[in-house]
Structures are given as C-alpha cells and as structure tokens.
C-alpha cells in the first residue's frame, strides 16, 4: 500500500485522556446506541459480544491498599498508512480512506472470512455470529437510519461515526458551506464522555486540539512498536498505565520525567511519585 494519505485532506484522530476516564462505560453504551450494535441475552460471552468501543480494565498489580485500576477505552485504532486488516481483506470490504484516514468496513461486501480479525492485534473487529435483533420485542424501534444494521456472518467495527461526518457535511451544505468546523464532527463516544476524556479532530489540521495533544510527552499509542500507526492516542500521567500501552523488554521503558511532578510529594499514588 502506498504511503499516500499524508497528503489526504483530513486525518481524523482521537486522544483519550486516561486520567480523566472514569471507567463508567458511557462511551460503550453511546457507541452501541449510535451504531445500531446488536444486543443479545448473554453478553458476558466477551469473545462474541460486539463492542466497537470496548473498555479494558487494567491494574497496576500492586498489593492492597496500593492497588489501582484504570481503563483503556479501545475503539478501532484506524491505523494509518498500512492497517493490518485492510491489505488482508479478500473482497475489498475494508479500506483506508485517503481523505479522512478512516478505515471503512462495508458489511454488504464482507463475506465473513474473518482474516481481518486474525490480523488485528487490537481485537477491534467483531463478527456477527448471530442474526442481529431479538425479534418481536419492539427493540428495532430505536434503530437509527443513519447506520445500516448488519446481517449475520459479516465483520463490523468502529467507523469513527463517519455518518456523523456526513451529517455535519449535509448541514454545512444546507448552510452554503463546503467545509466543516472543528467540533461539528465528533464521534458518539467523544460527545458522550461525561468526563470529557475524549478529544476528536483532524490530525492534519494543526489548529485542532488533537494535533496539539498528541505532541504532549504523556501521550502514547497502543502497540506503537509493531508499526500499525494508530490514529487513536492515549494520555496519562501515570507511568504504569503508559507502560501497559505497549510491550517492553526489561529496561526498555523510559518514564517521562517531569520535574514539576517530582516536587509534589503529597500524593501517595504509586506511579505518581516515581517521576
């Protein structure tokens, strides 16, 4: 695949502040509600439940009372340049959009071979093992026409709520504008997060908040080393969290040293007082 989309128009990306994230799961519910994601009676079967946005619970592993838990909200990473899932797809059902940086998934094209799931290290792709909706319960009444419900036997995943971009563009056209402003197009999880932990915007636009946030020393990405180039970034002041963002051989991880932090002694938090 060509390294072309640096010259694309927009490159949408996301920064998730793990310190602000409260682990409440609103993003997951908002995502499911926004995108007509199926629900089944047993959703504890995490291997087969569909959660485009998924929360991973992590722990610093220390003993009581120094234990600390945190969460990694994980949408699709929309890997740049060469997403591992795109090149493997047999029927061209998933592609990296040059102009938005969004990795699309077309359910009607997908044949359900699941090669993309095998190739994705983030587990961001979900197969429809069942027919979508519980019949005759009236639950199809809350489905939105903006996202097409999936049939069984196809793979689906986070789309960065691209339909919201279309919605924003349509509104812009109605108002005689060709372009959309920052904030006009954000994903459902971004909007829903009650702690405003998620920032969404165009990484190609230096004016956008995300472009500034990704330059911060506390910002990192998941599995950066294997070269997937995710467009979803994370931000945390806690070393143990940042360390869990990737695999490190002993001694490889270098903490972010911040003098201002070191001066503050009042906190007992592990991870905090290490730098």
């Amino acid at each position: 695949m060509k390294k072309g989309n640096d010259h694309g128009k927009n490159k949408y990306g996301m920064v998730i502040d793990i310190d602000k994230c409260t682990g409440c799961g609103t993003c997951m519910v908002a995502c499911a509600a926004e995108n007509n994601v199926s629900v089944r009676a047993d959703q504890s079967d995490k291997e087969r439940t569909i959660t485009w946005m998924n929360l991973y619970k992590i722990s610093n592993g220390k003993e009581f009372p120094h234990t600390e838990v945190s969460y990694f909200p994980r949408p699709c990473m929309h890997c740049d340049h060469h997403p591992p899932c795109v090149s493997v797809c047999v029927s061209t059902a998933t592609k990296l959009d040059f102009n938005t940086g969004i990795v699309s998934q077309i359910y009607t094209r997908c044949i359900g071979c699941r090669y993309c799931q095998a190739a994705c290290p983030y587990g961001a792709r979900y197969f429809n093992w069942w027919d979508v909706f519980p019949q005759d319960k009236g639950m199809d009444r809350y489905l939105t026409p903006e996202v097409s419900p999936r049939m069984r036997g196809v793979v689906e995943k986070c789309t960065f709520c691209h339909h919201r971009r279309m919605r924003a563009k349509t509104l812009a056209y109605a108002e005689d504008r060709r372009e959309i402003e920052e904030g006009e197009y954000v994903t459902a999880c971004t909007e829903a997060c009650p702690a405003q932990a998620i920032t969404f915007g165009d990484l190609n636009n230096p004016e956008h908040e995300v472009s500034k946030l990704i330059k911060h020393p506390f910002t990192f990405r998941l599995l950066e080393r294997i070269g997937t180039e995710p467009k979803v970034y994370y931000h945390s002041t806690r070393d143990w969290i940042r360390k869990l963002g990737d695999n490190f051989l002993p001694g490889e991880y270098t903490p972010v040293v911040n003098q201002t932090w070191a001066e503050e002694e009042w906190s007992t938090k592990p991870g905090r007082d290490e730098f």
Partner: protein, 823 residues
C-alpha cells in the same frame, strides 16, 4: 424422428451452453448475493425527519439534561444536553441506554392488568383502566367504610419533594392512612444530619466544582453518586490542562479500590463502617495542630469547647471528645489505617484553601449512618467549609408552593391517629420520617398482615431493600398489592393489580433538587414520544383514583390533571423571583456570580416562566454570594452544633418516659450524655458469631449497572466485565490473601452464607479488595424482567443482615458477617 438419448444429451448440452449466454445464471448469482445483503429479517430502520427534543432524565434523582434524537415519531438516541446546568454534555451509561427501557416491550406493562397466575409468576391479563379504577377504589372505599383506612399502605420510591410524591402522600392522608413509607437513600441521612447540626431543611449542597480538596468519605463519586453527569463533568474539569498545575485534589476513603478510589489522587482504606472514626481522627490532628478555622468555630458553632449549662452541669465539647478518644493511634486501631496516613491526610485537608469533606455510601440510593455523617460534617465545620465557596453551602429550600391544605373526613382523621407501622417519628426514632425496614418487620411479625392493600409507586423494594429478603416475605403476606410500575419488576410481579405508569420518556414529571447539587434546581421532564402503550402518568392516575374513591378524598384533588398540580406547585418558583429557565454554558450555575451581575430571568409572568420551564426543562438559581450568617442556622443555639441539642432533648424526652438506660438502648446508643449528641464512633453490633462467620460482606455499586428500581438497559451488560458476570453467575471480589486462606481460586464457585441467607457466586481475585471482606455487586440477580436481565447473578441484598443505625434506625447494611463455602 426418434429422440435418442444422444439427441437428448445434445439438447441438454445446447441448453447448458445457451443458458450461459442469457442473464439467468449470472443474475441469479448476483441476486442471491444481493438477497443476503437485504435479508428480510434484518431490520431496515425507516428514515424521516431528524428532530431533537430536550428533556430531563428521570432515571435517578440526579436529573441530568437529555436531548433525545428522533426520526419522525421514533426516538433513536439519547444524548447529554450542553444547555443544562447539571450536566454540561455528559450523562451516565444508564441514561444513555434509556431507549431500551422505552422500547423493549418485554420489560414493560402494556396496559392495566390483573394478576392471572401465582404471585411472582408474572402472569397477568389485560383489563381496562375503568375496571382497574373500580377494583382499587372499591377496595379502598371498603376499608374506609370498615374504619380501617390505616390498612392501606404505600411504598413510594419517588424522590422526596417531587410533585408526584407529594400527591401520593396527600392521597394517603386523604384516605386516612399514616402508613406512607419510602425506601431510604443517602438524602435521608443528609436531611437528618443537617437538621441536627445546622437546623436546615434544604438538601445537602456540596460545592464540589469550587473546591480545591475533595475529601470523600465513601462517596461513590464515579460510581453514580448525585447527578453522575455533574460529578463526572467536574472530574474531567479537575483533571483539565497541565497535570502539574491541577488545582483540585481528590481523596477517596473507601475499603475497596473502586473507580473513584483508583482514579483519585489518594486512596485511604479504612475498615467498612469506620469512616466516622477516621474523620474524627483527622479532626484530632487538625485541632491538635491548631489548624482549624477558629473564627468559624468561635462565631458560628456551638459545642466545640467544654461548657457549663445554666443548671450548672459540666459538659464536654467536641474538642475534648476528639482529643481524648481519637488520636491517630486510637483511630488506627479502629480503622486499620496507618497513623502516618491519618496525619498526612489531615494535613492535606487542613492546608487546602477550600477543602470539603463529603459523605456518602457508594451511589446515593442507600442510606448512610447518622454519626458518620456528623463526623464528616464536623470536619467541614472545623475548617470553616460551611457557607463558603468550595465547601458546604446552605441554600434556602426550593420555593415550591404548598398545595392547598387538605381537609380530611372523620374516617381519615381517625385513621391518621393510629400509629405508624414503622414507628418513625416516635420517641425511639425521633428524627426519622419513614423506616421501611420496620414496616417490613411489622408485617412479618404479625400473624396477619396489618396491611391489607399495599400501593407501590416507582419502587421495587423486593429487589432493592438491603433486608435479607424481608420485604419479599412481607409481600407474600399482604392480601392485595397494587403496583404502579411501568416495568415488570419483582415487586410488580407480586402485585394483584397493575396500573402502569408511563416511562420517563413518555410523561411529564418533575425533578426537585438533584442530590448534592449546590444550588436549587427544579427540572421538568416532558413526553419525548407519545405513550407507546395503554399506560398513564401516575400523577394523573393518583388524581383520578382520588375521584374514583370520591367523598372528601376526591375533593382534596381539585386539579384537572397532573400538569395542573405541577403548575400549582411551580407558582412558588415564580413568586420567589430570580430563577432562570435557560442555561448558558459559558456561565456555569456553580460559578459565583456577583450580585446583580448574573444572567437575568427573561420571563414576566408565571405562564411565560412555565413555558420556559417546559421548553428548557429547568428552573434554577445559580450560586450567589455567601449568605449572611444571621439566622443561617436554625438550631436551638442558632449556630452550627458540634453537639446537637436536639439529640440531647430527644434523649431527655424519652428518658422521662422510660429509664434513661432503656431509652438509650432503644435508640441504639452505646454512648451516653454529651458523646451521644456529638459525632462519635460506635462499633456496630456483631450480628452473629464471628467465629462461624469470619468474613464481612459488603455490597458495592457500579455506575454501569442500575441497582435501583429501574432495570438496567440491556446495553449495559456490554460494559460488565467477565470477572463481574459470566453467564448466569456474578462474582464476589475478594483479596488474593483471603482467597489463599480459604484455598479459593479465580472463577471458583462458592456459596456466600450469612445468617440471613446464602447466594452462589464465583470468586474474583482482586488485589484492590480489603482482606477479610467479600464484595458483592448490586444490580444483578433479578428474578423478573426479560432474558436480558433475569437470572443473571445474585442480589446481595438477599443475604444482608442489617442492624439499626443509632437514633436514625436506618439499616446498617454494610456489616453482614458471612462465610465462604466451596461448592
């Protein structure tokens, strides 16, 4: 010519060749593939006009603003409102999934119903509203005719002060029954504590957003306490900007590494039920180091120093009590917290500019302990964090009009004289409004249920009461149960008659002062969609029921419908003046406005105001400058009382009747004299032989699971981790050390046994659990609803063995002794 086989084969070959040159095989191949892309059983959501309706979420007393996206007549998505003061933009996962509660038909009653099967089986036959009213009004009239109106009882889960709860209370009064009870919540503890220490009747008002040091004693800030949209927004704000320059520090006091504890800047883990002792330990350090606000203490408080009464008796003050009994070492023994931590914590609190100590027990849906609250509130007083920005504010009660006085007939006035079944308000529980656990006991204790007809409003006490299944047994004894729930919950399944309410998205309803908010707010939810089924707003039903009963009961409800009653109460909001009905995100309601500088109400008449409330869904008064100290505390001393005179009076009053010793015992007090009037630590009674039940069970709440009377939207189960629920088994979180002691492994099945019962769960080894404690999640274990919720996990309430909190009589649900038995 004879058709030979050879000819036939030639024709077939020709046909096969020929058919390739027609569209048939190719188009069928294509069309069958297209058919799979448009399977008729995959729903195609109809499109239409996209609109948005602003309303208020009524799923919890938090009352966050919601914007419901609609496509034509269908609601398709709930989002948080940015133009609502409580929750600028965000809502909690339960509210986010609210449409499933509206549209999942199998969760709901589709019209008035009569029980058809056995109690609890959930089998009903549909009846008309007329028939339903006839049945119920007939029964009530009968009881009234017999002169036993007190045999009607109501359990009302609507938050206190909402118009529908006011109407229900009024109906009970008009009918002549004193037996109006409500499930308890943390606001009941707040109310009592505020009354005793500050003499105020307004709800608890924590000015979190302006504080720079939030010391939370057990408050599940991230577990759903208060208005989750507000608290989590504040959380985001506290962590905004350069992490090195953050202003607000958050400390969580809790025994388990909950989300709040983990995400806080500091976590202190005392044993459950010892939060009060820890607070007093901090007070000790602060007093000893002289870092307390001496001006507030001297000018605006009483009972701090030792004093001598007019009769000449010596009394000890808060200072002496704390210095004598709550040194860090003493407190360490009680709480298990390192004395050094206590000192550093006290210093952190003392050195902050605008610290606030807040009290709670997880979410706000369960009660707390009175003395714990008083201990925490004493800390605020010590630092002068009362009536100060960033501390505890003392706003006036919300100025809703009182309804016209009710005239009751002779039957009713006789009935009202009969004692309440729960003994609330008697000398034994002098400050308590309602005690549902006693109410349950009264039914269970008597061979024949003293309640003949039980009305249940917006509550599911069968499931939500931490009473070891007591209410369930009581329900079995009550001859006639009427449920007004829109949902097929456990209590409704026991009912004989269902008069279903509309869901919160189908009706008009008010929200009076979300829990913990620092300014008065009146929210109004409105019908986002037309009622889907044959259900009616309970407010209207109550009015109609009163008419159906007739006589003086009916005349007590002069309103055409519920909305008129709402308006009648809202008149007071207009008369009080100064309230806003629209919200500008640039001027947050918690930001202190200089007098006269804030936004102005844009309405001129009541009708204009009401229109504003209806479209915006709110009336509120932003935080204004601190109030004058004059007459601020309505206590006997006119000051903040470290040592509550009301408690002293109540004890004395009761002692006049029976011996002092008996009085103290009945009130549940171990301490005597002045100590009993002040915040102090009293070890809860061991309810069982601790050698048989060596562990403690503590129910815990999660923000992503509804544990109250509202069912969890099925979407929420996506957010539950597989070490919290797996298939039909929920998990008990225990410390690996505890597990090692009992040779338990991750995922192993165990029975948690308490004197009240047992439940089967799987083990989850969690380092963040305090050793010796078994943590069970609340919200699982439904036996009602549909396949999404039914039979998933266990309900820890079923094994709670609750003691009684001193004075308040509230259940002490955090002290259940248990043992673990391998399956």
């Amino acid at each position: 010519m004879k058709l030979t086989r050879r000819n036939f084969i030639a024709a077939v070959v020709g046909g096969i060749a020929g058919i390739q040159a027609t569209p048939l095989p190719w188009k069928i191949t294509d069309d069958v593939a297209i058919w799979t892309q448009n399977w008729p059983w995959v729903p195609v959501p109809p499109t239409g006009e996209f609109t948005e309706v602003s309303s208020v979420c009524n799923l919890c007393p938090g009352g966050c603003g919601i914007a419901v996206k609609k496509v034509d007549e269908r609601a398709v998505k709930i989002e948080g409102r940015t133009d609502y003061p409580v929750n600028p933009g965000g809502i909690c996962p339960v509210g986010m999934g609210g449409l499933q509660l509206l549209y999942d038909e199998s969760l709901r009653f589709t019209g008035p119903m009569k029980r058809a099967g056995l109690r609890g089986a959930g089998e009903f036959t549909e009846i008309s509203w007329g028939e339903a009213f006839d049945i119920l009004a007939g029964r009530i009239s009968n009881l009234r005719k017999k002169g036993t109106p007190e045999a009607i009882a109501a359990v009302d889960g609507n938050p206190e002060g909402t118009t529908v709860s006011v109407l229900i209370k009024r109906l009970m009064k008009a009918m002549g029954s004193p037996n109006y009870v409500r499930p308890l919540s943390i606001t009941d503890t707040y109310r009592m504590g505020n009354l005793l220490m500050q003499g105020t009747l307004a709800p608890m008002a924590y000015d979190l957003e302006n504080s720079d040091y939030v010391l939370s004693f057990g408050c599940g800030l991230l577990e759903g306490w208060g208005a989750p949209g507000r608290v989590m927004n504040a959380w985001g704000m506290w962590h905004d900007g350069n992490p090195a320059k953050r202003k607000t520090r958050i400390v969580q006091v809790e025994s388990r590494a909950s989300n709040t504890a983990s995400k806080a800047d500091m976590w202190v883990a005392p044993k459950p039920g010892t939060d009060g002792a820890l607070a007093l330990g901090l007070a000790h350090v602060i007093i000893k180091s002289g870092q307390y606000d001496s001006r507030f203490v001297a000018d605006h408080s009483s009972g701090f120093d030792d004093w001598r009464s007019l009769e000449g008796t010596n009394h000890i003050g808060f200072k002496t009590l704390v210095l004598e009994k709550y040194s860090p070492e003493q407190v360490a023994k009680i709480t298990g917290v390192n004395p050094k931590t206590i000192v550093s914590l006290a210093k952190g609190f003392a050195n902050a500019k605008a610290p606030v100590a807040i009290y709670g027990k997880g979410k706000d849906s369960l009660n707390g302990s009175l003395y714990e609250f008083m201990a925490v509130q004493s800390l605020n007083a010590l630092k002068g964090s009362i009536n100060r920005s960033g501390g505890v504010l003392l706003p006036d009660p919300i100025p809703l009009s009182n309804l016209p006085p009710l005239e009751v007939d002779a039957i009713a006035s006789e009935g009202l004289k009969r004692p309440r079944l729960d003994q609330a308000g008697t000398m034994r529980y002098p400050f308590t409004d309602s005690l549902i656990n006693n109410f349950t006991d009264a039914i269970n204790r008597n061979p024949k249920s003293p309640v003949d007809t039980l009305l249940v409003f917006s509550a599911n006490p069968f499931f939500t009461l931490p009473d070891g299944g007591g209410f369930k047994n009581a329900l079995e004894k009550v001859p006639f149960i009427v449920s007004f729930s829109p949902y097929r919950d456990e209590t409704a399944n026991m009912a004989d008659l269902i008069l279903p309410d509309c869901t919160y998205l189908e009706k008009i309803d008010d929200i009076v002062w979300p829990t913990g908010l620092q300014y008065p707010l009146y929210g109004l939810s409105k019908p986002v969609v037309e009622p889907l089924y044959n259900t009616r707003n309970t407010g209207d039903v109550v009015i109609e029921l009163s008419r159906a009963i007739g006589e003086s009961v009916g005349s007590g409800f002069p309103w055409e419908n519920f909305e008129e009653a709402l308006q009648a109460r809202a008149k007071g909001l207009f008369d009080a003046g100064g309230g806003l009905v629209s919200y500008d995100p640039d001027a947050p309601a918690w930001q202190r406005q200089k007098a006269g500088n804030g936004p102005k109400p844009g309405y001129k008449s009541f009708d204009e105001m009401w229109e504003g409330i209806q479209s915006g869904g709110m009336w509120y008064r932003p935080v204004s400058s601190p109030k004058s100290w004059q007459g601020l505390f309505n206590t006997p001393s006119g000051k903040f009382e470290f040592c509550s005179k009301l408690i002293a009076q109540a004890i004395e009053h009761y002692s006049n009747k029976i011996s002092k010793k008996a009085a103290l015992k009945n009130m549940g007090l171990a301490a005597i004299d002045d100590e009993a009037c002040m915040a102090h630590y009293q070890a809860p009674k061991a309810g069982a032989d601790r050698s048989v039940y060596p562990l403690l069970m503590l129910p815990y709440e999660m923000i992503n699971l509804a544990s109250g009377w509202i069912p969890s939207p099925p979407f929420l189960y996506k957010t539950i981790f597989e070490n919290q629920l797996l298939k039909d088994k929920s998990f008990a979180a225990i410390n690996p050390k505890t597990a090692a002691k009992y040779h338990l492994e991750e995922g192993e099945l165990v029975v948690v046994k308490s004197p009240a019962g047992e439940v089967e769960v799987r083990i989850n080894l969690f380092e963040g659990a305090m050793p010796g404690i078994v943590y069970l999640p609340l919200g699982f274990g439904h036996t009602a609803y549909d396949e999404f919720l039914k039979g998933k996990g266990v309900n820890p309430n079923n094994i709670v063995q609750a003691g009684q909190d001193p004075i308040s009589g509230y259940p002490v649900w955090w002290n259940t002794p248990v043992k673990l038995v391998k399956v």
